[in-house]
Amino acid sequence: MLIEMYGVTKIYPGGQVALKDINLKISKGEFVFIVGPSGAGKSTLIKLIFREEVPTRGQIFFAGKNISRLKRREVPYLRRRIGIVFQDFRLLPEKTVYENVAFAMEVVEASYKDIKRKVPQTLERVGLLHKANARPSELSGGEQQRVALARALVNNPDILVADEPTGNLDPDTSWDIMNYLDDINKRGTTIIVATHARELVDSMKKRVIQLEKGSLVRDEERGVYGK
């Protein structure tokens, strides 16, 4: 079991209840959609996984380790096992595509040799090796998100977590990104995607977890987005 949540409740300072008594398990190799309207708690759930937030109540296990009790200095080592993708890409504008991806390896103090080997290989995987020397501003939105995918993948994470990865993209490009995610999943990386994209979810036929006002209302294998 890669991720286990037991009775997880998150109440933000100020009293806003973001998640209520969530119980769920995600195994290695799964592809999971988290759906629900804005404010349902999707982002909070994602943030709990990579420990940007800690649960108010309940326990979260990552690969058998209780991460709700993680010490501050242990958090970076959890995050090295998780690739994170955001709606707004979060690339560094003054760095080239290659440098943006290499940056992720520099940060975890990878060797120069590994960086030189891994970065082109990962860019190839997202079909962007030919744009290695371009800056993010010269790329389309879809291409930028693929750079972000490469950056999230380059350190071989156990899991890739994406919060609205297609939120800023047109439908065709969104499809493209989903296909890359599916491909990444088929090669063994667990994937969790929080999304609004109804059509994509419906046609991908993956496990769907639906949140409604902070509660888990549906957890379905090969599910659809719902009403």
Binding site: E106, V107, N155
Partner: protein
């Protein structure tokens, strides 16, 4: 830590320094001026201390012995003085020796044929100048001592002045240290703020706090270091000029030699660098909470 990582830290630090070139210059200037003012005060108070110590070490007690006291009693008195706590050295000055010294001062001819009017006396040095008054008082109580003299009043005043000098010096040091930290931390804050996006991305990727912190810490240290180098250069130039002027015009004032100033300059350098590190550490902390 890998060499490659250290190189990365320095590269980032210098990139930051040059990216905010004007701010960097401004803060180096600010650190330099703070340290110059601070250093000037340091040099003034060190020199004042030095002068004071010099005068202090010259303060000694003279105890005059009654003429009626015989040789045996003189020995007893000497032992008595020696047994007082805080007494470092006792020198007996006989009537004859006193006269000889006196003659040297005023001229032989003047005293020709006169009977020696000077009493036997002891010259006493004490361990610490602060004890002079107490020791003098106890000597006075010894039988056979006619009169005890020391720079009464002068010594006390001197101590009061050096005491306040030290206190004010410390206060001014503290104020300027705080100002330096403030200026540096503001400069670093601008760098950190302009790179907050990068910092948050680094944190999401799994960078440790120290990995994020080091470049900024180095940036602050380089700012503090450069500022203190400038301050030291200007202070050294200023001090050597003043030193030569004082030596030329009022040679009797004892001043700290230039070489000794360099010992303090190393301290200034360390302090500037430390202030830089401290100031930047202050700014980065807030942005690490991701």
């Amino acid at each position: 830590m890998k060499l490659r990582t250290i190189r990365y830290f320095f590269k980032e630090a210098f990139v930051n320094l040059f990216r905010n070139g004007w701010m960097s210059l401004a803060s180096i200037g600010a650190v330099a001026s703070a340290l110059i003012i601070f250093g000037s005060f340091l040099m003034i108070s060190i020199n004042f201390d030095y002068i004071a110590k010099n005068v202090e070490s010259q303060v000694e007690i003279t105890a005059y012995v009654e003429d009626s006291v015989d040789k045996l009693r003189l020995n007893q008195i000497e032992l008595g003085i020696k047994s007082i706590d805080g007494v470092k050295e006792v020198v007996f000055v006989s009537k004859e020796k006193a006269l000889e010294e006196f003659k040297k001062q005023v001229g032989e001819e003047l005293l020709e044929g006169i009977e020696n009017p000077l009493p036997n006396s002891f010259r006493i040095k004490v361990e610490t100048p602060q004890e002079v008054a107490g020791v003098a008082e106890r000597i006075q109580k010894i039988d056979g001592i006619e009169e005890v003299k020391y720079g009464k009043g002068v010594v006390e005043k001197l101590f009061k002045i050096t005491y306040w000098m030290r206190l004010v010096g410390l206060a001014v040091m503290a104020i300027f240290a705080a100002i330096s930290v403030f200026i540096i931390s503001n400069t670093i804050r601008i760098t950190v703020f302009s790179r907050r996006r990068e910092i948050s991305i680094m944190k999401y990727i799994g960078a440790t706090d120290w990995f994020v912190r080091w470049p900024f810490l180095l940036e602050g240290m380089i700012l503090g270091f450069s500022g203190s180098l400038i301050a030291i250069a200007l202070l050294a130039a200023g001090y050597s000029y003043l030193y030569n002027m004082v030596k030329l015009n009022v040679p009797m004032i004892p001043l700290l030699r230039l070489e000794e100033f360099y010992d303090y300059s190393l301290g200034l350098l360390l302090m500037g660098t430390f202030l830089g590190a401290f100031g930047s550490g202050f700014s980065v902390r807030r942005f690490l909470r991701v």
